[in-house]
Each structure stands twice: as C-alpha cells, then as structure tokens.
C-alpha cells in the first residue's frame, strides 16, 4: 500500500545539512572504559555497575536534509534530548562526528563554535528559558545582542521576528505576564531573529496545553512554508511527530532504532518499541484517504452502446446498490445507484448515465488525511469515491472499511 506523499524528502534530492556519524555520549568519569565494555557487548546496566558511567547516546548515525522538519522521538531516557544537545555541543560528544554543512562541530575550536551558535544554529527550549529580568523584545533580541548587533538593528529584527510569530504589541511586557503559548512564541521569535538556518527544538510544545500545542504546530509548519529552515524537533508525542515531521527518527536506550517518513514508521515499524508508540496514536491522522480506498464497488466504463440496463444487470449480479461510472482513461465521472438508474430509465433517457448520477456524492482526493474525511464518509449513505490528482478513480471508502481501519491498531 505504498503511496507518494508530497513531503517525501528522499524524493526531491535535498542536500544533507546535518550528518551524524557513529556518535557516542558517555556520562561519567571513565568514558574510555565504558566504550570498551560497550563494544565488548556489555549491557548498559553492566557498564554502569562496572564504571559508574551511563550511556547517553549509543552509536547514533543519521542525516538531516536541508529544509526538512526532522523529528527525534523516544521515551524519556532514550537519549533524544542529549542527541539534540550534541548537535550544538551544549553536551560534548565522547566520540563520533557531527557535521553541519561538512564542518565538524565536535572538533571545532571554542571561538568557531560560538560563531556557529550565533549565526547558524538556534534553539527553542521546553520550559521556554526566557530570561525573567528582560522584556519580551530584549528576550527576542538576546541572540543578536550577544552577537554584538547594534541596539536599533537588533530591536528592529526582534520586532519583525515577534510579528512573524504573531506576537505584536507585547514588546515591553515581562515573560511572567504572558501565557505559556505566548512565552513559547517569544522563545520561537528569539530563535528566528538571528535567521539561523538550523533550528533545534527540544520538546518545544510539550509544556503547552493541547489546543495551544496544535496551534503552535500549525504555526511552525506555516513558518516553515514561508521560509524554509532545517528543523530538528525532539518530541515524545507521535501525534506531534506525524503532524509536523517530514521524517522521524526513533531512539531507544540511546540507539537510533528507525529513521523514516511518518508513513514508513507507522506502516513498517522496525520493532515492538516503535509499534508501542502508536498503540494510542490517532490513526485517522496517519492514514490518508488513498490508503483506505478499496476497489470493491462495481465500476462501469462509460462508452457508446452500454445501456443502463446492462449496468443494472451487473449491479444485480454482484449484489451492489451503487456503481461507479468511469471514462476510458479510468477518470471518475460519477456514481449511480439502482434507484437512480431505474428512475432515469423510466423517464425515457435510458442511454445517458449522466442524468442518473447521484447529486450528493463528491469524490475525495487521495492525499486527504483520514481525519478530515471521517465526517463525509460517516454522513454519506453510499461509499465515497477516492480520486488521485489526475482525477483517476482509486477506489471508494465504505463505512465498514473505515471502521475496520480505525479498529485495526486499537
């Protein structure tokens, strides 16, 4: 059931922006010894008992492509936040290389690292990390201030960033006067103000209530559409990952278990750990109309000489109430029911299907997510046809097929 999505990053040859190769992070006093034990196949518990060290990240390798939203997912303690902090070296890697546009962050001198952090990478934090002694505008301008940009210019740029995240007129407020969602808008503005090409987001929306969280996710996707950045987003919430992620990287016990598009993760989970994430995921967000459409309805190719009588004959043979009328090139023309065919035949227009088309049936595009078509299918008396972008008929969704899909992962 493979299908192309518009956000399949491997399809459009984006260059690699961040390249993580064989990265290990050992916390503790004796990392070399811990690494030796690790390569000898000892478990984390054994290594901890022997050396007192904990393995934060265990041999992680993956690429993040330019302009994609790359979500790192895992339970707490899986090393996802550590992995994120290795990218801008808030945490020093033990071994391995972390390259941003072929520059190795892990080995660059401190001065170069500071320049990189000022201009190329910014970060958004889970608990916002807004400095309480600064006003909103001064918080948003913090990165620019540190980089030594003049007051008038940095205020101007910070104000533009605040406007971009929809937070006008709060310039002189203090962070503690704002709601959680507004605080994170300031956090986002601070990260955007420096126009860094890489944005690291550490559970950025987890502290917000669900409604605001969805709003912020949409906001992020909108900002990304306006001005493409490379975003590495850490989350523990698969719904969020699927909603915003172009690709998802699943981490378990410090190891990268699977990297793939949301569809690949859901349809071909690498192991039970990955599967456990969507035991309670909303499948209607994962699946698209095209995934659920079945070719179980009677189809009739519309051409000269095929009469309504022949169609009725076929529908009776297959014991169906409705039939889909297609063109020769399989394009969708309309849907008829036995009743509508009989009524138009009685009116004496027997050779035209067009007048028998059911008026209320609107075909659904295959790329539509299941959650958006749920209502349409539920309200329709008949199965709802699904078409691709070239108007070709792909199948239809009946209520029973829909229920079966929703039930299957429960």
């Amino acid at each position: 059931m493979a299908f192309a999505t518009e956000s399949d990053p491997t399809a459009n040859n984006r260059p690699v922006k961040i390249s993580i190769k064989n990265v290990f992070k050992v916390f503790g006093e004796r990392p070399e010894q811990a690494l030796r034990l690790l390569s000898a196949g000892k478990t984390k518990a054994e290594i901890h008992a022997a050396t007192g060290c904990t393995i934060g990240v265990n041999n992680a390798s993956f690429d993040v492509l330019a302009g994609e939203i790359f979500v790192i997912m895992g339970l707490s303690g899986s090393g996802k936040s550590t992995m994120l902090r290795l990218i801008n070296r808030l945490i020093e890697p033990t071994t391995g290389s972390i390259e941003i546009e072929r520059r190795d962050v892990a080995r660059m001198p401190r001065s170069e690292l500071i320049e990189l952090r000022r201009h190329d990478i910014s970060m958004v934090f889970q608990s916002f990390a807004l400095l309480p002694n600064r006003t909103v505008i001064d918080n948003a301008a913090f990165g620019l201030e540190v980089a030594g940009i003049s007051e008038t210019e940095r205020k101007q740029r910070a104000r533009a960033a605040l406007q971009a995240v929809g937070l006008d007129g709060y310039d002189d407020s203090r962070p503690d006067q704002l709601s959680g969602g507004m605080k994170q808008r300031v956090g986002l503005a601070r990260a955007l103000a420096g126009e860094a090409s890489v944005l690291l987001m550490d559970e950025a929306f987890s502290a917000l209530d669900p409604l605001i969280r969805t709003e912020m996710q949409d906001e992020l996707v909108r900002l990304q559409a306006e001005h493409s950045r490379t975003i590495v987003f850490v989350s523990h919430d698969l719904d969020e990952a699927i909603r915003i992620g172009d690709r998802i990287c699943i981490m378990q016990n410090g190891e990268v278990v699977q990297v793939g598009t949301p569809d690949e993760i859901v349809l071909k989970p690498a192991n039970d750990y990955v599967r456990s994430f969507f035991r309670n995921v909303d499948v209607s967000r994962v699946f698209r109309a095209g995934d659920v459409a079945r070719k179980t309805q009677v189809t009739i190719i519309e051409r000269q000489g095929v009469s309504a009588a022949a169609a009725l004959e076929r529908m009776e043979h297959f014991n169906r109430d409705v039939a889909i009328i297609l063109g020769r090139d399989k394009t969708y023309h309309g849907m008829v029911s036995r009743t509508s065919l009989i009524e138009t035949a009685r009116d004496g227009a027997g050779h035209s299907y067009r007048r028998a088309f059911l008026p209320d049936i609107e075909p659904i595009p295959a790329s539509e997510s299941l959650s958006t078509v749920l209502g349409t299918v539920a309200a329709s008396t008949f199965p709802v046809p699904v078409i691709d972008e070239a108007n070709r008929y792909l199948g239809s969704i009946s209520k029973s097929a829909l229920l079966e899909t929703l039930d299957r992962t429960a």
């Binding site: 500071i114 952090r117 000022r118 970060m123 990390a129 540190v146 709601s179 605001i212």
Partner: protein
C-alpha cells in the same frame, strides 16, 4: 607536649610588619581614601538633607508607613545628639561594605565557576566568620595603627563571608535552562556571567550584601575599641563609665540604623513595589490578555 601556635602567629605578624610595610601602607592609603571621602561627604551633609534622603528612599523602596517610622526614629537619633556619630558609623559601614563587595563578589564568582576554588575558600570563610570579632582588632591595629582604616579592615574581614557565599550560591542556583539558552545563542563566558548568571542570581546576591551590611554594622561598634569612632564610641563610653543611659542611647541609635539599612537593602533584592514606586519607575505597557492567533 604543647604547641605554641600563639608564638607562631606573633612571629608571622612581625614578619609581615618588617617586610611588607610598603604594601601595608598602600592598602591603608587606598582604604583610607575610600573611608575618609565617604565620611567627609556624609558629615558635610546637613542633617535635614540626610533625613530627607532616608525618607525618600524608604518611600520609594518600602512604603509610606516605613518611611514615616524611619523619619521619626532618625529624628530621635538627632535629638539624642548622635546624628554625626551615626553618620560616622554609616560611612564606616558603607566603606567596609564597598570593599567587601569589591573583594567578595569576584571571589564568589570564582567559587561558582570552580569546585576547587570553592573547596579552598569555604573553610577560610568559616574561619573568618567564627573567629571572635575582637581577635581581628589586634593585627589590624598592629598593621594599620589606630583609627578608621584598621576599623574598616577588621570590619571587612568579619563581614565579607555572606556576600561571597551567597554570590556563589546564587550563581550555582541559576536554572540550567537559562545557562543552556545563553550558551545556545553563542554567549562567551563573560557574556554568560553578565547577561545570564548575575541578573538571575540578583536576589541571592542582594541577600548576601544585606547580610554583609548587617554584620559590618555590628563590627563597626566593636571597632570603636581601636578608635574607629562613631556610635561605637558612645557605647564604649557608656561601658567605661557604667553609664546605662549613655550606653542605651548609643545602642538605640545602632538599632535604628540597623533597621533602616536592613529594610532598605532587603527591598533591592525583591521586586516589591510600594504604592509610591510607580512614580519613580518607567510605566510597563500591559496589553489586555488575548490569545494571539495566526
């Protein structure tokens, strides 16, 4: 077998006296300059101006009630004839606090940055705080003679520990996400200190300064024994003459000064707005709360 530590200390003090006289003179000159200029300023100020400054500060930082109380009690001090003695004491307190902050703040920052420095400095601070205050008077008088300068120096030693300790504590307690944010946006070590750590450690830092002021006030009275002057002299006269009345007047003046200084310095550590404070502060624009939508 007995160790004669006292002899050792004696010879150490003598060694310093013999070999570091120019250094001691330099220190004395520097501290003398600070103490004397503050003292000259405060003593030159007419009582009415001094009183007005105290009342206005109280009004701004604390509130109307406290301003009234401070005004009345300071007026009482003047009526006991102790105003200039109190100003002398205040100048010693201010000078020693200034010196204590100049030394203590960098020391506290160094402790916060390095566990090794902290491990070395902490027992020294314990010693400075627990050694009976009178003991400092002897070497201070030997090194620097009698008067305000050795008084200030003895006071600095006794009162410096809180500002060091609380600077260290305040910086260490700054939330790790603030530090991460500072680093993530490319702060240098100095920028991190000035823009993130110190502003966020401010309440703790101010508590340290408050404690230092309180300790120096108590020490300044003791330092009158080596001729530091101020209200301490009044108290000392009371003791020498077994004159309860004079002693009590001096004690009351110290208490009044202590209360006023304590409340004023405490107020700088917290964001407590008195009803009058808005007059002195830039208005903050508070828009009506609405959820911004895209």
């Amino acid at each position: 077998m007995t160790f004669d530590i006292g002899d050792g200390v004696d010879s150490a003090v003598n060694y310093v006296l013999d070999n570091f006289a120019p250094l001691l003179d330099l220190i004395a000159a520097a501290i003398g300059a600070v103490t004397n200029s503050i003292q000259a300023l405060l003593l030159a100020m007419p009582m009415s101006v001094g009183l007005a400054i105290f009342v206005l500060l109280s009004l701004w930082r604390v509130g109307f009630g406290f301003a009234a109380l401070a005004g009345l009690s300071l007026f009482l001090v003047d009526h006991m004839g102790l105003w200039s003695a109190m100003m002398e004491t205040l100048s010693l307190v201010l000078a020693s606090t200034l010196v204590a902050i100049l030394i203590g703040l960098p020391l506290g920052i160094a402790m916060a940055r390095s566990d090794r420095v902290a491990a070395i400095v902490r027992p020294v601070l314990d010693l400075m705080q627990t050694m009976p205050a009178f003991v400092y008077l002897i070497p201070a008088a030997m090194f620097f003679g009698l008067g305000a300068v050795p008084g200030t120096i003895a006071t600095v030693i006794f009162s410096m520990p809180p500002v060091v300790r609380l600077t260290n504590l305040g910086i260490r307690q700054v939330h790790v996400e603030f530090i991460e944010a500072g680093n993530a946006f490319g702060c240098t070590a100095l920028q991190l200190l000035c823009k993130v750590q110190l502003p966020n450690a401010m309440p703790s830092l101010m508590a340290g300064i408050n404690q230092t002021i309180m300790l120096s006030l108590s020490m300044v009275v003791i330092a009158s024994m080596i001729g530091a002057g101020g209200i301490g002299n009044t108290v000392l006269t009371g003791i020498q003459r077994l004159d309860v009345g004079t002693g009590f007047e001096g004690g009351l003046a110290v208490v009044i000064l202590a209360v006023v200084l304590d409340r004023l310095t405490q107020s700088f550590g917290k964001e407590r707005a008195s009803p009058w404070r808005s007059l002195f502060r830039r208005q903050v624009y508070q828009p009506e709360v609405s959820t911004a939508t895209a």
